[in-house]
Amino acid sequence: MIFNSEISGEQQHTTSPVVTGGSVIALVYNGGVIVGTDTLCSYGSMAAFKNVKKIAQISKNTIYASSGEFSDFQQVVKELAKIDRSALQYDDGVHPSPKDYGNFLARLSYKKRCKINPLYLQNVIAGFHNGERYLSLVDIYGTYLESNFITTGFASYFCKAIISNYWNENCTLDQAKQVIRECFKVLFCRDCRAHDVIQLAYVDAQGAHIEEPERVETKWDFNGFKSRANEKLHTQ
């Protein structure tokens, strides 16, 4: 991506994000890879956009999600889709594999980081290619890591314990979904920039499936909330 402003020297550098997306959690399961995000884009501490679909399908067997600056997410989706489309002009039926996208994004992120103007994103690319599951993280610096599970943002702090206790790489799709739902439940309770409506998407041998957003189960009818604990003290 080269903008005219870069060439003319008027380029400003991204120092902090404006509209941001929250944590992404991705797990490998026995038949593929599953990715979960919430559906919130925050404007600082304001929960500004609450119905945002933050998982994109890049090609038949690759999906992409990220946390961080949402406009950068939208631009990256365009760039990755461009690569897939350019396969058409060569008439050879060869489409990039999920790993090709992961590496491309790593190179792009690294290039922009070197110009001190990063894509303010933690990127997650998930796919299923030639019978093999693929899951990788590309961070804001262009670091590229393949793994069986990926968490970004606050999920890295709150959810790793849940994932290690209840998930393994050969679990079923339903088990993996439950683990992710449990993680987002905890995030909604503890992360101020999280939301209780989440979206799950998974890639398997049949391709990518992006599900409709769902609300996580939360419990608020604790006695402590119903009859406020402090009330008695104040009336005394």
Partner: protein, 248 residues
């Protein structure tokens, strides 16, 4: 046919619809020494006959590795071949840097063809005087392509280009139905048999004037070394395609 009126440059058509400069460039390919390629389901083999400018000189290499999964054999102007070889190697390197995977073969041949065509439509340029046989393996399978100075490219099961290549092509026409299921060794022997058809009466094949390159789905491109070449040339005495039919 008053050719000389229409053959000065690339930007002039003849009344018969020919671009003579491009056709003359194809002649340069026919002057080069023979190189051929053949493929099976698993492997591709390139064989070429190397020329020695004089007794004091070494033999001119005809096969170049482009990447682990791709190689070319050239016939024609070696200097032009070097330019295309460098271009292909650079493209493969850049693709690997960006995507960490191998450049799809057909796509690179397409790029070379585009580059070649460009030279046929410009007033100040001349076509490349070299034909390439591009052997490569990618997720789409095993490939053998031929490129021309005209900018056309074709995919082949087996092909021979260069001087006296018709003799090798005749051999191929008789036996190519066996290649698909051939083992690597049989493929090499077929290639050497075809080359043998194309050499002069007083010449003979030896490990110095023959070059064999092999490529496979799990085999990076390698040249056969002198000892291996000697062994295969010896095996050639006992080899006959008929015996392969009996095995099947």
């Amino acid at each position: 046919m008053l050719k000389h009126l229409y053959d000065t440059d690339c930007v002039t058509w003849s009344p018969q619809g020919k671009l003579f400069q491009v056709e003359y460039a194809m002649e340069a390919v026919k002057q080069g020494s023979i190189c051929l390629g053949l493929k099976s389901n698993e492997n591709v083999v390139l064989c070429s006959l190397k020329r020695q400018p004089s007794e004091l000189a070494g033999y001119q290499e005809k096969q170049f590795k482009i990447d682990d999964h791709m190689a070319i054999a050239i016939a024609g102007l070696t200097a032009d071949a070097r330019v295309l070889c460098k271009y292909m190697r650079t493209e493969c390197l850049e693709y690997k840097y960006t995507y960490e995977s191998h450049h799809p073969v057909g796509r690179l041949v397409f790029k070379v063809a585009e580059k070649s065509q460009h030279k046929t439509q410009s007033g100040a340029k001349r076509p490349y005087g070299v034909g390439l046989l591009v052997a490569g393996i990618d997720p789409n399978g095993v490939h053998l392509f031929e490129t021309c100075p005209s900018g056309n490219y074709y995919e082949y099961k087996c092909q021979a280009i260069g001087s006296r290549s018709q003799a090798a092509r005749t051999y191929f026409e008789s036996w190519f139905h066996l290649f698909e299921k051939s083992t690597l060794e049989q493929l090499i022997l077929h290639g050497l048999s075809a080359i043998k058809k194309a050499i002069m009466e007083d010449e003979e094949l030896n490990e110095k004037n023959v070059e064999v390159g092999i490529l496979g789905k799990n085999l990076k491109f390698t040249h056969l070394n002198a000892q291996e070449l000697r062994d295969y040339i010896t095996k050639l005495e006992q080899f006959s395609p008929n015996s392969q039919i009996q095995q099947e």
